[in-house]
């Protein structure tokens, strides 16, 4: 082999080594950075909290008593409740008990907690400071009626609540649920893969920690106890709060990304292929004629 051809081989080898190193770095980065994940959540819970956003802020209710801090505003209200954007809404139904909805403004920036729009079309702004409370006048047991009560929800949603050293005998709890994590490939959002799943148990809480989109879902009251909840949210992290304060992070595990994300797999395959090519192209030895 001539000196010139050996020099060319050396140059090719250097190029391949550079590309392989680049592929390694890209594969490593793609493997380690948190991937966008869709959290698909279904649960039966006695308490749901969400912050109302501009997408979905109207709730339709039937036969509710409306009160402020201590005063009754409406004895029997049926109609729509338009929530102020940013209001924190807490929906509770313990067992087969009555539905209650608590609305709190995060700050005093707005004087209206909500606007009631009755079936007669009349609008009644609730200028209550920061707090309103709705409680169903009837037990929402829909068995035998063929009906249900559906409350669409959108925003930042939390299920259950942290269980601590309680001072009340009755505590609204999350009963059961399942979170399915659907991974989305970084460069191609159409490439999705089921990453993992986690069960929610009695007394757990669940919250999205780094949302990328507003959660969209629905609360259903039917003949079953508590509230049936289903929602989806794209996020980079979520956590389950266990009774007593333990917190479990829910993210796509590394091994799952290696096993199921096509982009990560292709990057690592490209790196391994280039590594093989580097091995095949021998390192040239300088020979002087």
């Amino acid at each position: 082999m001539s000196y010139v051809s050996k020099w060319s081989m050396g140059r090719y080898r250097a190029v391949v080594v550079t590309v392989a190193a680049t592929a390694f770095v890209v594969a490593l980065v793609l493997t380690l950075i948190p991937v966008s994940t869709v959290y698909d959540v279904t649960a039966t819970t006695e308490r749901v909290d969400f912050v109302a956003n501009s997408v979905m802020r109207t709730i339709h209710l039937d036969h509710m008593q409306v009160s402020s801090d201590s005063a009754q505003i409406e004895a029997d209200f049926s109609g729509a409740v338009e929530l102020t954007v940013g209001s924190k809404v807490s929906i509770t139904r313990v067992g087969l008990g009555r539905l209650s909805i608590e609305v709190t403004l995060p700050d005093s920036g707005s004087s209206e907690v909500a606007v009631l729009r009755g079936q007669d079309g009349k609008r009644l702004p609730l200028r209550l400071g920061t707090y309103a409370y709705f409680e169903s006048l009837v037990h929402e047991d829909t068995s035998g009626t063929g009906g249900n009560l559906v409350i669409p929800i959108s925003g930042t949603i939390e299920l259950g609540r942290e269980l601590g050293a309680e001072t009340n005998a009755t505590v609204p709890l999350l009963r059961t649920g399942k979170v399915t994590l659907v991974g989305q490939s970084l460069l191609d959002s159409t490439q999705i893969f089921e990453a993992s799943a986690a069960d929610l148990h009695l007394g757990d809480g669940f919250e999205i920690t780094a949302p990328e989109t507003a959660a969209e879902g629905v609360i259903v009251l039917n003949e079953e106890p508590a509230l049936a909840v289903s929602f989806r949210c794209k996020a980079r992290g979520a956590r389950v709060i266990r009774p007593g304060g333990g917190r479990d992070r829910l993210t796509v595990p590394l091994q799952t990304r290696l096993a199921k994300d096509p982009l990560v797999q292709h990057c690592w395959l490209a790196f391994l292929f280039l590594l093989g090519v580097v091995k095949v192209i021998k390192k040239p030895e300088l020979e002087v004629k």
């Binding site: 008593q65 009160s67 801090d69 201590s70 009754q72 509770t92 209650s100 608590e102 709190t104 920061t130 707090y131 409370y133 709705f134 409680e135 609540r161 942290e162 601590g164 050293a165 309680e166 001072t167 009340n168 005998a169 505590v171 609204p172 007593g244 304060g245 917190r247």
Partner: protein
């Protein structure tokens, strides 16, 4: 004969009416079944409602060697102290004899074995509830203010409260003024032992303070809880 002035006669007539089966419509309908009722004067709970009453900067790190209380003039022999971490992982109880101790800010020894774990906490994350008593087995009647940082001004009063599912506020009054503060939720932290902070920003140099904890959820009110705190 005036029945209202003769209770014995009235009871005798009422007994005769009842035994004969006659029902006076003025007195209302008698229950058909055995009447039963139950009044729980003291609801049993798993956690304390008021976990701490503290002075000083709530966000300052705890100084375990400088826990102190504001001791008033008292004839009671004991100072009782409960210490609870916000996450519920740490609890401590201690009693201090007050014989020969002068009123004012009194430093207390806190001989914990877990100083490494506790020293990273903020003052509001390690609640102290201290009170004067003849025996610490009894519930607190008068609380005294505690602080983790002796030497710093007592500043605002922070009540650390364990009240969930209720909108909770603290009405307070001392001889010259009256006020109300809505308690704030502690967020993004573990809240096993307590979940609210209620802050009274200024006590205006008063000697004592009466605080009433109100818990409301719509039309449902829990019985208010009154707390007496001595400040000097």
């Amino acid at each position: 004969m005036n029945l209202s002035r003769s209770p014995v006669a009235a009871r005798a007539i009422a007994l005769i009416i009842t035994c004969s089966g006659a029902v006076s419509t003025e007195q209302g309908v008698i229950p058909a079944r055995t009447y039963s009722e139950h009044l729980e004067l003291r609801v049993k709970v798993s956690g304390d409602l008021i976990v701490g009453v503290m002075g000083g900067d709530p966000d300052a790190r705890v100084d375990l060697s400088n826990v102190s209380v504001v001791l008033p003039k008292t004839s009671l022999p004991l100072l009782c102290m409960h210490v609870t971490s916000q996450d519920g992982a740490f609890t401590a109880q201690s009693e201090y004899g007050l014989q020969g101790v002068f009123p004012g800010i009194v430093r207390l020894q806190f001989p914990t074995r877990y100083s490494v774990q506790l020293s990273s906490l903020r003052a509001r994350q390690l609640a102290v509830r201290a009170w004067l008593a003849s025996t610490c087995a009894k519930d607190p009647e008068v609380l005294v203010v505690a602080t983790w940082n002796q030497g710093q001004p007592l500043g605002p009063l922070t009540f650390l409260i364990n009240s969930r599912d209720y909108r909770t506020s603290l009405r307070f009054s001392h001889p010259s003024s009256l006020g109300e503060t809505v308690c704030e939720q502690i967020t993004n932290e573990t809240v096993t032992a307590y979940n609210l902070t209620c802050t009274i920003s200024d006590t205006y140099g008063q000697i004592s303070l009466q605080a009433v904890l109100r818990r409301i959820r719509g039309p449902h009110h829990l019985q208010p809880v009154t707390v007496n705190v001595t400040l000097q």
